[in-house]
Each structure stands twice: as structure tokens, then as C-alpha cells.
């Protein structure tokens, strides 16, 4: 009997409300008839409900309060209404954005074009102004980003923002200076010449390795240790090696938008993975053997984006 009561207990409230299905109502009623404890429970709950319905005092306020409230609300609405031109403009822009989003949502929900247009008549000039300004800003932005198309194949980007923040000069055996760009976050204030990675308590540095075929394969090392840093083994510790070269010949055809670095300099992704010296060299050799266009590369640089070692972001050379 106790088990049955336990099962019924949670339904008694619904039973009183009459929100049970017919089958459940019959089952609960049948049990209640045979169980004094549940009968008392039902009776008590009904009495409780009776008390609530008949003796609970619903709060209300005086008419004077409501009159005062209405006046106060009206005043607040008037106060909160934007008065300055830029405030009105901002408010209209926000309303427009919100309204457009809502209306598009409704439109896609119900496919009712009549719902699509519902804007405040008195604010129409501001909506138009907001829309025009938004379009103008978007157009200006696009103009600064996309200057021209080259044969309709490749998009060129302005070079000013893409200059390496730090450039190391490596003295070669033949006394020629080969610039090596260590690409840093251009927003970073750091100016250390030897790039390093701070992984908590340890500081890992890139070692300068001998240049092979114009490439440098940097190695991350902790001072006095040959261990690979744990941060470099993580999923967000990816090194990318790029070769930069003037676009020409067969290489051009293999470039993608990811390979465009500057207006006249391009990079081909060579390595993607943890650069641990020997492994990187092997990858490079394999890549080189597979890529016939490599022979046409006139200038080669190794580019190690440090951001990849500390943030789980997709490396996009265009944005650097």
C-alpha cells in the first residue's frame, strides 16, 4: 500500500486540479477510495485550496498611487527618449537592427511578406539615415580591403599592415644578409629579437639553426634542455612555415587566398605541425620533391607565427 501511495502522491495535486488524463484519474480515484491516508491528503489539499481561494488577500494599491505611477512612467519615457541628433540616430539604428532581425525571423518563420515591413513611421528618416550610413561604412571598408582584381583570379591586399613586426638578420657564410621574418602579432608591443614562448613557469626560445636551402628550421628549446615543450605538443601549438616569394610563373596558379601575404609577396604553406628540427627538414624535403614550382622561388623566408603557440586560433596570414 505504501508503494502505491508513493506513486499516487505526486499526482494528487494534478488530481485536484483535474489535469490528469482519464486513465490516470480513474487510477488515482480508485486508490484514494481504498486508502484513508490519501483520502486525508486529498481532503487537506482541498481545504488548503479553499483557504487560499477564499482568504488570501490579493494586494492592491490606491487609485492615487496608480495615478502617480502613470504620470511618473510618462515622465520617464519622455526623459529616456533620445533628444540629441546622435542619440536619436543611435537609437534609430539599434531599433532598425533589432526590427530587421525580428522581421526577418518572422518572415522566415511564417513566410508572410506582409510582416516584413513594420517600422515606426515617425522614425522613418532616421532608419533611412542609419541604413545609408551602415551601407557607406560597409562600402568604405570593402574599398580599403579589396583594391582591385588581378585577372579576376586573385585578390591583392594592402601591404602596409602586413609588414613583419620583428625582423632578424642572419649572417650567412657567404657574407650576404638574408632577412628572416619572424612574424609577430602586429599589435604586440614586444620587440625582443629572439622569439620566446612563455608556458607558465618556463620560457622556451627558438634556437637559430643553420640555414638550409634558404630556410631556417627553428627549434623550440628551454635553456639547457633538449626536451620538446609540452605547450608545443598541445593541439594549439602549431608551427607554420611559410616561404615568401614574388608571385610568378607556375607558383601563381597554385596559390590560394591563404597564401597571399602582401601585395607583391606570397607565401606557400610548407609545414604545418610541430617543428622539431629534423622532422621539419624531412617534411620540407618531401614537399620540395613534390613541388616542381619550388625551383622558381627566388627568395625564401621562414615565418613562424608565435601566436600559434599560445592561442587556439586559426592562423590566417592575411590578418597578421
Amino acid at each position: 500500500m505504501r508503494t502505491k501511495c508513493h506513486k499516487i502522491e505526486h499526482r494528487i495535486s494534478d488530481y485536484i486540479d483535474g489535469t490528469l488524463s482519464e486513465r490516470q484519474t480513474v487510477a488515482v480515484a480508485s486508490h484514494i477510495r481504498s486508502c484513508q491516508s490519501c483520502q486525508r491528503e486529498v481532503a487537506d489539499l482541498k481545504k488548503t485550496q479553499h483557504l487560499l481561494k477564499n482568504f488570501y488577500v490579493e494586494p492592491d494599491a490606491s487609485d492615487a498611487y496608480y495615478a502617480e505611477f502613470t504620470a511618473k512612467l510618462q515622465h520617464r519615457i519622455e526623459q529616456s527618449a533620445p533628444t540629441a541628433l546622435h542619440q536619436r540616430f543611435a537609437a534609430a539604428a539599434m531599433r532598425l537592427g533589432w526590427q530587421l532581425g525580428t522581421q526577418i525571423h518572422r518572415y522566415t518563420d511564417h513566410f508572410r511578406p506582409s510582416r516584413f515591413i513594420s517600422i515606426r513611421r515617425h522614425a522613418l528618416p532616421y532608419y533611412v539615415l542609419a541604413l545609408a550610413t551602415t551601407l557607406l561604412i560597409a562600402a568604405l571598408f570593402l574599398l580599403t580591403q579589396v583594391s582591385l582584381y588581378d585577372n579576376g583570379k586573385h585578390v591583392r591586399f594592402p601591404s602596409a599592415a602586413l609588414q613583419p613586426a620583428v625582423t632578424l638578420s642572419i649572417q650567412q657564410d657567404k657574407t650576404t644578409v638574408q632577412p628572416v621574418g619572424i612574424r609577430r602579432n602586429i599589435n604586440s608591443e614586444r620587440t625582443t629579437e629572439t622569439p620566446s614562448v612563455d608556458s607558465g613557469s618556463d620560457v622556451w626560445k627558438f634556437t637559430d639553426e643553420p640555414m638550409i636551402d634558404g630556410y631556417i628550421f627553428a627549434k623550440l628549446r628551454k635553456e639547457g634542455s633538449d626536451a620538446v615543450p609540452s605547450i608545443a605538443l598541445g593541439i594549439d601549438s602549431e608551427l607554420l612555415a611559410y616561404a615568401e616569394f614574388p608571385a610568378q610563373g607556375a607558383i601563381w596558379a597554385r596559390l590560394t587566398s591563404r597564401d597571399v601575404l602582401t601585395e607583391d609577396r606570397y607565401a606557400l604553406l610548407l609545414l604545418r605541425g610541430i617543428n622539431t628540427g629534423q622532422h621539419a627538414r624531412q617534411q620540407y624535403e618531401r614537399k620540395r620533391s613534390e613541388s616542381k614550382g619550388f625551383s622558381q622561388i627566388s627568395e625564401k623566408l621562414l615565418d613562424v607565427p608565435l601566436e600559434m603557440l599560445s592561442v587556439a586560433a586559426v592562423y590566417d596570414p592575411i590578418k597578421l
Partner: protein
């Protein structure tokens, strides 16, 4: 001219601010009642009421007209009031120790009087006060459900929609709230045998 509710809402959507006043007039008592029951305080209810109508004014264009305006207004009011109470509780916690939510706060004076002479409490005025105190002593979540169901007459589904929870949760809260109320009101039930 008496405008219908749908017309008022349409006008308000189109920026006619004069449409707000009739809506306020129509629903002010409902909003106040709900706000004061949840916040248990006139001053707080006044704030909630203002925020509610300001939100109605600013967000009327988000109201889906295929739904009932009253339910939408209930949702705004309840959420404003609940947020208000939560903010207030946080502020209190940072300053003074308070009785934790869920503790019953029905005055001991009433309990003592009930035990000594229940017939005295048959006086309706005092009974009303006792029942009201019992409801007010419920934890916030339970009290809200009781108010919406028992006094506002909303269905489980409507309450679930307003509180953004499942109907099962509403049923469960209502069940436990009633049990607590039964316990609180038991002395009176036994004494007066309604």
C-alpha cells in the same frame, strides 16, 4: 475613443506613444499585484512595474501577435520581479546575514495564538492575514508558481512558458508548495474544520 487591445499594440508598434497609457491603465493592477506578491515590497514592486512597462514600450515590436499579450506581459513582469528579488538578495548577502530562502517565516505570534485559542482566529481578518503570510513565506520559486496558478488562474503550460521551464517542473513546484501550505495551515484546518 476606446481602442481595442490589438489596435493599441499595433499603434504602439508603429511608434504611437499615446497607445501605452491605455495599456498601462488596463494592466496596471495585474502587474502591480504580481510584482508586489513576488517582491513582497511596495517600493520594489513600484520599480518592477516601471521597468515592466518601459520594457513593453521598448520591446513591443518583439511581441509576436499570434500570442496573448497578457501572457507576454506576465512573462515580462515575472522575470523583472524575479530578477529584482535575486539582485536584492545578492545585495543583502553582501551586507548582512539574512534568513535563507526556503525558511518559513510565518510569525510565531500566530502559531502561539492558534495553539492557545483557535476560535479567536476564526475571525476572518486574522485568517486572511494568516493565509497571506503563509503564501508569502513560501520560497520564491514555489510562491511564484502558486501565485500564477492559484490566484492568476494560469495553466501549467502557460506558467511553464512564462518561467521558461518544463510543465513537469511547474507541477512539481506546485505540488511541494501545496504540501508546505497544507502544513502551515493545518492547525487552522484542524481547529475550525472547514
Amino acid at each position: 475613443m476606446d481602442r481595442t487591445e490589438a489596435l493599441l499594440i499595433a499603434d504602439l508598434c508603429e511608434g504611437d506613444e499615446t497607445a501605452l497609457a491605455p495599456l498601462v491603465e488596463r494592466y496596471k493592477r495585474m502587474v502591480y499585484r504580481l510584482a508586489v506578491q513576488i517582491t513582497k515590497n511596495h517600493a520594489d514592486a513600484d520599480d518592477v512595474m516601471q521597468e515592466t512597462f518601459i520594457k513593453v514600450y521598448r520591446s513591443i515590436h518583439t511581441f509576436r501577435r499570434d500570442a496573448a499579450f497578457e501572457t507576454w506581459l506576465y512573462r515580462i513582469t515575472v522575470n523583472e520581479a524575479l530578477n529584482f528579488v535575486k539582485r536584492r538578495e545578492r545585495q543583502r548577502e553582501s551586507t548582512i546575514e539574512t534568513t535563507p530562502e526556503g525558511e518559513y517565516e510565518v510569525s510565531t505570534r500566530y502559531r502561539a495564538q492558534l495553539a492557545s485559542d483557535p476560535h479567536t482566529h476564526a475571525e476572518k481578518a486574522e485568517l486572511r492575514q494568516y493565509v497571506t503570510e503563509a503564501v508569502n513565506s513560501l520560497p520564491l520559486k514555489h510562491r511564484t508558481v502558486v501565485i500564477l496558478h492559484e490566484f492568476e488562474g494560469l495553466t501549467h503550460a502557460e506558467i511553464a512558458s512564462i518561467l521558461n521551464c518544463s510543465e513537469g517542473t511547474v507541477r512539481s513546484r506546485l505540488h511541494y508548495a501545496r504540501k508546505k501550505l497544507r502544513t502551515l495551515l493545518k492547525p487552522y484546518m484542524e481547529a475550525s474544520a472547514i
